[in-house]
């Protein structure tokens, strides 16, 4: 029932009081959720920033290893080793629940490989290819970890924004309106009570005068 349709009656007052209690409870819970999500966001942001720094270091290292591999084996040798890859690295998508928010949980699949899983022959390549492959495998793992954290931060930010809007709506609109309505109903009921009391007194007086005349 919209708040404007609530009648200034005892039943209406009870409805408003119930709604008010519910709104205050929800507000308290959402505020706690918001605080929790903020703490989680700070933790996740720190980890994401650290992961991003690590990713940048790994990227620099991987590029350097690719440079060394290209120097020693030639871009041709590096490409030939790259063409030998038989299992394409990928990731499995899962979810984890943090304060009711579904954060991505990415698991690398076929990223880190042993020497015999990489597909190239040991005798046709040299250790620079292994170093470059290791460096890029680590880089892909870091990219997946970074994507998981940054995706989580983004989801959390969206949820924080949504929750904040709800908390603000409760705090600055729903609860004040309900308070106002409750006050209005109480005034109305007081006024009606006073009117009733005055009416009864008036009737009583009229009755008393009539009795005196008789």
């Amino acid at each position: 029932m919209p708040i404007d349709d609530i009648k200034p009656t005892r039943a209406g007052l009870l409805i408003v009081r119930r709604r008010m209690a519910l709104a205050e409870r929800v507000h308290e819970l959402l505020s706690m959720k918001l605080d929790g999500m903020m703490l989680e966001l700070i933790r996740l942001t720190d980890r994401a920033a650290e992961q991003r720094r690590e990713l940048e270091d790994l990227y620099t290292g991987a590029r350097e290893m690719a440079a060394v591999a290209a120097m020693m084996e030639g871009a041709t040798g590096v490409l030939l080793a790259a063409l030998s890859v038989e299992a394409v690295p990928t990731y499995a998508v899962g979810h984890k629940n943090v304060f009711g928010v579904r954060l991505p949980d990415l698991e690398p699949v076929a990223v880190k490989k042993t020497l015999d899983e990489r597909g190239y022959g040991v005798l046709g390549t040299s250790s620079v290819i292994d170093d470059a492959a290791d460096a890029y495998e680590n880089l892909i793992e870091a990219i997946i970890a970074s994507a998981e954290l940054e995706g989580g931060v983004r989801q959390l930010l969206d949820e924080i924004e949504r929750t904040r809007r709800r908390v603000n709506a409760l705090e600055f609109k729903v609860i004040p309106e309900l308070m106002e309505k409750r006050r209005f109903i109480e005034y109305q009921r007081d006024e009606m009570e006073r009117q009733e009391w005055t009416r009864l007194r008036r009737i009583k007086k009229i009755k008393a005068k009539r009795a005196e005349k008789r």
Binding site: R63, E64, A66, A67, V68, A70, M71, M72, G74, A75, T76, L79, L80, L83, S84, E86, A87, K112, T114, L115, D116, E117, R118, G119, Y120, G121, V122, L123, G124, S126, S127, V128, D130, D131
Partner: protein, 374 residues
């Protein structure tokens, strides 16, 4: 075939031509000059040289470091095919056997490209027809759509028996790595077999080849050991090349060594140690670096599951080439000057490629210099 002490005129003629060709390779000072240049200057510098005319032919299709790499690769292919053309008799056979490593790389690239459906042009760009299989045959192989068809077309190739053994598993996961390893094992066996056939200079070539096998085996043993998970001992057997001074059994014992004392006692018996010690002495300018220090160095990397240091690998390659040069001067009319030229040419191309790639990645000059073999 020429017997020792009875050198045929064609041998003398060919060996002299190879010695002349060697003198045309880039000297140390040329590398120093090139190192001071940027990539456009290197392209201009090489383009002005008669030897590197490929760079002008390719300038319309490629640019930068890629242009240099493509040009030097084609130059390598042309030089090696030229070497095959002038080498007579057993020199020709041995040169062909030596150049089979490029054939292996080309064949494996084509087979992988065919199975993994990689665009043909991309594969074609990766081929270096420096071996027996010429560009026309490689293009013919590229036209096939299945692994079996490509294998059938390779029936005349000297390493075809290995491919025939794996005909059924071609394209299965892990099969190409096994085929590639077996091809290289057969390649070294073929080279050693020819060297044992008694050509001029072959007796001296055998220790060189054995040392190359030892050093390759040792590097690969370190690679296998430093893998994330300990590999099966059968993989050690599959990837080690037989025929070196270090037997496969010794390599297996080395792989299983658990303590420093055990490892170093086995490692000190190998022929690698003195060369490794010399390489580190030259690299670090440390005259006191002994064989024991070298064994300890290898143990430390072994124990920490680390791969060989690239700079030391390059230093060992330099020493190997010096040994080959010394042998080729000692036996001027044998297979050794031919192989010395082929090895020097191979590293000239590798050096130019290393400089171009290093400069393209913005590496400092002294870092690039560590990967140059002079």
């Amino acid at each position: 075939m020429a017997l020792r002490g009875m050198i045929s005129p064609s041998y003398i003629y060919a060996c002299t031509r190879f010695r002349v060709r060697r003198t045309k390779l880039l000297p140390r000072d040329a590398y120093r000059r090139i190192m001071q240049m940027g990539i456009p200057e290197i392209v201009t510098h090489l383009g002005r040289q008669e030897e590197y005319q490929e760079i002008m032919d390719l300038a319309g299709d490629f640019s930068g470091a890629r242009l240099i790499e493509e040009a030097v690769n084609r130059n390598l292919a042309r030089s090696f095919r030229g070497a095959m053309a002038i080498a007579p008799g057993s020199l020709h056979t041995l040169t062909g056997e030596y150049l089979a490593r490029w054939d292996i790389a080309n064949v494996m690239a084509i087979l992988r490209g065919t199975v993994h459906h990689i665009p043909r042009q991309q594969i074609r760009d990766l081929l270096i027809p420096a071996g027996e299989l010429d560009r026309a045959l490689l293009d013919h192989l590229l036209s096939f759509t299945t692994c079996g068809e490509a294998l059938d077309a390779l029936q005349g190739w000297r390493l075809y028996p290995i491919l025939a053994e794996h005909y059924r598993v071609c394209g299965e996961e892990g099969a190409f790595a096994r085929i590639e390893d077996e091809l290289y094992q057969r390649y070294y066996a073929g080279l050693l077999g020819l060297a044992r056939s008694g050509c001029s200079g072959c007796q001296e070539l055998i220790p060189y080849l054995r040392f190359e096998i030892d050093i390759t085996n040792m590097k690969n043993l370190l690679r296998l050991h430093c893998a994330r998970e300990a590999c099966d001992i059968t993989l050690v057997d599959q990837t080690m090349i037989p025929g070196g001074n270090m037997s496969i059994d010794l390599l297996r014992r080395l792989y299983g060594a658990g303590t420093e004392a055990e490892f170093t006692s086995i490692f000190l018996q190998t022929t690698i140690v003195p060369v490794l010690a010399r390489a580190v002495r030259e690299l670090r300018q440390d005259p006191n670096f002994s064989s024991t220090d070298a064994a300890e160095l290898v143990w430390r990397r072994w124990h920490q599951h680390l791969r060989p240091v690239h700079e030391i690998e390059m230093a060992i390659t330099r020493i190997r080439l010096q040994q080959m040069d010394a042998l080729s001067r000692r036996y001027p009319f044998s297979v050794l000057p031919v192989l010395a030229y082929l090895e020097r040419k191979r590293y000239e191309v590798a050096n130019l490629r290393a400089i171009a790639r290093g400069k393209a990645f913005g590496l400092p000059a002294d870092r690039i210099w560590q990967y140059i073999v002079l």
